[in-house]
C-alpha cells in the first residue's frame, strides 16, 4: 500500500473530489432546486400574510403592500453569484478567526482550513438562498474546533464570536448531516512541513534516498548547491547557508499560499493535498520544486517517466488555479465590494422565509417541538410514540428491567 492508496481510502477522495464539470453541474443543480423551493416558500409566505391581513380587518395600506408583493417575481441568485458569496464567506471565516485570535483564543490554520472546507462542502448541496452563510460561518468554525481537537466551550466561543450560543448550535446538526458525517479533511499544511524537513535534510547531505532513483545523497546535495536561482539561468554555486535560506524562503511563501488562496479556490475539490502542496511550492520556487520532484523518480533515463510528466502537468494546472484564485479572492477592491453589496441585496429578497429562523426550527425539531404551534398535534404524538417504542426496543435488547421477587 503506497501513499496514493492511502489517500484513496479517505472520504475526501471518495465523496468530496470532483472534476470541474461535475462540480459545476452539481452547483447548478443545487441552485435550480433551491430557487424552486424559495419561490414556492415565498408564495406560501405571501399567501399566509395576505390571509392574516384580511383576518385583521384589511386596512388599505396592508392590502396594497401585499398586492405589490404578489406582483413582483422573485429574482433568485445565479450559481455564479452563489459561488462568489460562498467565496466571500470563506474569506470572512479566515477574517473572523483572526479576530477571535486577537481576543486571545488562537485558532490554528488546520482548524480554519477545516472550517472553510466545511462551509464549501455545505454549499455544494445547499444554497445560500436557503441557509444564509452568515449563520453557517460561526457554526462551521465552532464545529471545526471540535473535529480538529482544538476545542473550546460553546459559551466561550459564542462570546469570542459575538454570537449567541443557540445561534451557533442551531445549524450544527444540519451541518453534520449535510457533510454526510465526513468530518475528516486532508490538508496540505503538514505535508509542506514534511517536504521542508526533507529538503533541509537533503541540503545537509543527510537525506534518505528513494531506492531506484540511482543517486547518492552526496550527489543530491551537490545538485542542490548548484541549482540555478531562476529557471533558464546558468547554475550558481551556493554555500550551504544560502541553500538553507532559499529553502526557508520557499517554505514561507508556499505556506502563505496554502493559508490563503488554496482555501479560497476549489483546489481541494480538484486536487489532492499533496498536489496542492507541490503547486504552492512551484509558485514559491519553481526551480527547487522541479528538482525536488525529479529527485523522486529514476534519473538518467532517456525518456522521462510518464507518471512524472503527468504529475508535473497536474501540479502546474493546480498552480494556475491557485494564482488566479489569489486574484479573485481579493475582496478589498472597490469593484468586488460593489459586487458583493449587490449580491447581498439580491439575497435579502430571495431568502427562503421558512428557513430564516434557524433557532426556532432547531427548537421545534427537538423533543416534541415544545414551541407552541411549531409542530402540529399529530406529529408530536407520532414522535412520542416512536420514542416510546425505541425505548421499549432498547430495553428488550438488554433483557428489560429486573423484577423484584
Amino acid at each position: 500500500m503506497s501513499e496514493d492508496d492511502l489517500y484513496r481510502t479517505s472520504t475526501q477522495y471518495k465523496f468530496w473530489s470532483f472534476t470541474p464539470e461535475s462540480l459545476a453541474a452539481l452547483r447548478v443543480d443545487t441552485n435550480v432546486a433551491a430557487a424552486e423551493r424559495v419561490k414556492a416558500a415565498i408564495a406560501r409566505h405571501r399567501a399566509a400574510r395576505r390571509a392574516e391581513g384580511h383576518g385583521a380587518g384589511s386596512n388599505g395600506a396592508d392590502t396594497s403592500a401585499s398586492a405589490s408583493d404578489t406582483d413582483t417575481d422573485v429574482d433568485c441568485l445565479t450559481p455564479e453569484e452563489e459561488l462568489r458569496l460562498v467565496q466571500y464567506y470563506s474569506y470572512s471565516t479566515l477574517q473572523s478567526s483572526a479576530a477571535i485570535a486577537s481576543k486571545g483564543f488562537n485558532i490554528p490554520i488546520r482548524v480554519q482550513a477545516t472550517a472553510v472546507q466545511y462551509l464549501k462542502r455545505f454549499y455544494l448541496t445547499n444554497s445560500p438562498m436557503t441557509y444564509h452563510p452568515k449563520h453557517i460561518v460561526p457554526t462551521a468554525l465552532y464545529f471545526a474546533t471540535k473535529t480538529e481537537n482544538h476545542s473550546i466551550s460553546v459559551s466561550a466561543f459564542a462570546e469570542l464570536a459575538g454570537q449567541s450560543e443557540e445561534k451557533i448550535l442551531a445549524s450544527e446538526c444540519l451541518m453534520f448531516q449535510v457533510l454526510r458525517f465526513n468530518l475528516d479533511v486532508r490538508h496540505p499544511h503538514r505535508g509542506l512541513r514534511g517536504a521542508y524537513i526533507e529538503l533541509l535534510a537533503l541540503a545537509a547531505g543527510e537525506g534518505a534516498v528513494v531506492p531506484g532513483t540511482g543517486k547518492t545523497r552526496q550527489e543530491l546535495q551537490e545538485e542542490l548547491r548548484r541549482l540555478p536561482l531562476k529557471a533558464h539561468e546558468p547554475p550558481a554555486e551556493q554555500s550551504d547557508d544560502a541553500v538553507q535560506k532559499r529553502i526557508g524562503n520557499a517554505y514561507a511563501l508556499a505556506s502563505n499560499i496554502l493559508k490563503d488562496s488554496a482555501l479560497l479556490t476549489d483546489a481541494y475539490f480538484h486536487y489532492t493535498p499533496s498536489q496542492v502542496m507541490f503547486a504552492s511550492l512551484y509558485l514559491a520556487d519553481s526551480v527547487l520544486f522541479s528538482w525536488y520532484l525529479d529527485s523522486k523518480f529514476p534519473s538518467g533515463t532517456a525518456v522521462p517517466d510518464p507518471k512524472f510528466l503527468k504529475i508535473t502537468v497536474t501540479i502546474k494546472r493546480c498552480a494556475e488555479l491557485l494564482r488566479d484564485g489569489a486574484k479573485a479572492a481579493d475582496f478589498q477592491t472597490d469593484a468586488s465590494r460593489q459586487e458583493l453589496k449587490r449580491i447581498g441585496k439580491k439575497l435579502h429578497f430571495c431568502q427562503n422565509p421558512e428557513k430564516k429562523d434557524l433557532e426556532g426550527l432547531n427548537r421545534a425539531a427537538k423533543r416534541d417541538g415544545q414551541v407552541e404551534g411549531a409542530l402540529d398535534e399529530r406529529e408530536r404524538k407520532r414522535r412520542k410514540l416512536e420514542r416510546e417504542r425505541n425505548e421499549q426496543e432498547g430495553h428488550e435488547l438488554f433483557g428489560g428491567t429486573l423484577k423484584k421477587e
Binding site: 500500500m1 503506497s2 501513499e3 496514493d4 492511502l6 489517500y7 484513496r8 477522495y13 473530489s17 470532483f18 472534476t19 470541474p20 461535475s22 443543480d29 443545487t30 435550480v32 432546486a33 433551491a34 423551493r37 448541496t125 445547499n126 444540519l174 448531516q177 486532508r186 496540505p188 503538514r190 505535508g191 509542506l192 512541513r193 514534511g194 517536504a195 521542508y196 524537513i197 526533507e198 533541509l200 535534510a201 545537509a204 543527510e206 537525506g207 534518505a208 534516498v209 528513494v210 480538484h270 486536487y271 489532492t272 493535498p273 499533496s274 498536489q275 502542496m277 507541490f278 523522486k296 507518471k307 503527468k310 504529475i311 497536474t314 428557513k355 434557524l358 426550527l361 432547531n362 425539531a365
Partner: protein
Amino acid sequence: MSRLAQRGGTAAATISTTALPMPSDDAICPVCKASRYWNSQVPMLMNPECYHKICKECVDRYFSHGPAPCPVAGCGKTLRRNRFRKQTFEDLQVEREIDIRKWLAGIFNRREDEFDSLKDYNDYLNQVEDWTYNLIQNIDVEATKKQINAYKEANQKDIAENVSLANQEHLTYEQRQAAEKQQARLRREAARREAEEERRIKEEGRNSILNKVASGEANLRDTNRVELKRASGRGPAKPQLTDPFLEDASKGAASPGFQIKGLKKRVQVAPEAPFDPFEGLLYKPQYHVVRDNYPWDFLDSTRKDIKHAAGGYDVAQYCARALCDAFSGLGVFIEDEIAAREGPPAPEVVEQAAAEAATSGISVDPKIKDDVF
C-alpha cells in the same frame, strides 16, 4: 456349548458362556439340598463364571480355603468365593446380559463429540452392539473377545481418560464445591508455609550477618550479598508442566484388526497469533524514506521540551506523518479517476429522472431532499 473354550479365556473375559441352569431348580441348593421352602433364611448365591446357585452356607464351606471346582455335577469350573453374589434379576439370562453389557460399557466408552459426524458415532455403536450380541448369544465368542481385547489394549489411554471424565461429571455440584474449597485451603496453607519459611530464612540470614559483623569476621556489604544469594536460591522448585497433547499425538487410535472410522484427531490448539489491527495491510512508502532525524531546530527543541515528552509525543512519528502527508495522493489524478468512477449515466436513468421531474414539477435531488428541518 463351548465349555472347553471357556477354560482358555483370558482373565478379563470372565463372562460365562455356559448354558444357564434352568430356573426351576431355583429353590433348592444343589449341594446340601436345603430348600428355601423349609428354610427361607438361607440366601442363595451365584457366581458369574457359571451362574450356578449355591446356598450361602455351602459357599462358605466349600470355598473358604481358596478356589475350588463348582460342586454342581457336570460343571467343574474353578470358582472363587469373592466372586459369589446375590442374584439381582430373577431371570439369569438377563443377569448375564447385564454383566456382559457392563463389562463392555467399561471398554467402549467413547463419546459422541469424539467423532466427526453422527454417522461415524452410530457406526461405532453398531459395531459395539454386534459384539455384545455375539457374546450374549455365544456366536464367535473367541474371535469377538480377541478383537475386544485388542481394542482395549490399543486404546487404554483413551478409555482411562473417558473414565476419569465420566467420574468428574458424576461428581455433584456440592462435591465439586467442597473439593475446590479443600484445594483453596491447601493452597493457602502452602502459601502461608512458604511465607513463614522465607521469613525464617531472612531472619537467619540477618542473625548470621549480625553475628559475623559482631565478631568482626567480614565487612557488612559482602556478607549481605552472600546471604541474599543464599536466600534467593532456596525458593521452592516449580513443578514442570507437561503437555498432555504432545504425548497423545504420537499414539494414534489405530489398532490392528479393528479401526474406528471418523474419529476426530486430537489436535494441539495453536497458540493465538498476535492481534494485527491492519489485517495484513502493509504501508510501504513509494516516494520517500523516513529518516530518524531531521536537521530542523524546531524539531530539536520539541524533542527536548519536557512538556511534549511527558505526554508521549514522538517527534519521529510526526516526521513520518508529515512526509506521508507530503506525498499522499501525489499520483492520484482526480480528474481521470473521478470521471472514470462516475462514468456517463445510463440513458434510461436520465429519462426516468426527467419524466419524474416533469410530473412532480420539482427537480429531484436526493442529497437535498433529506433535510433535518
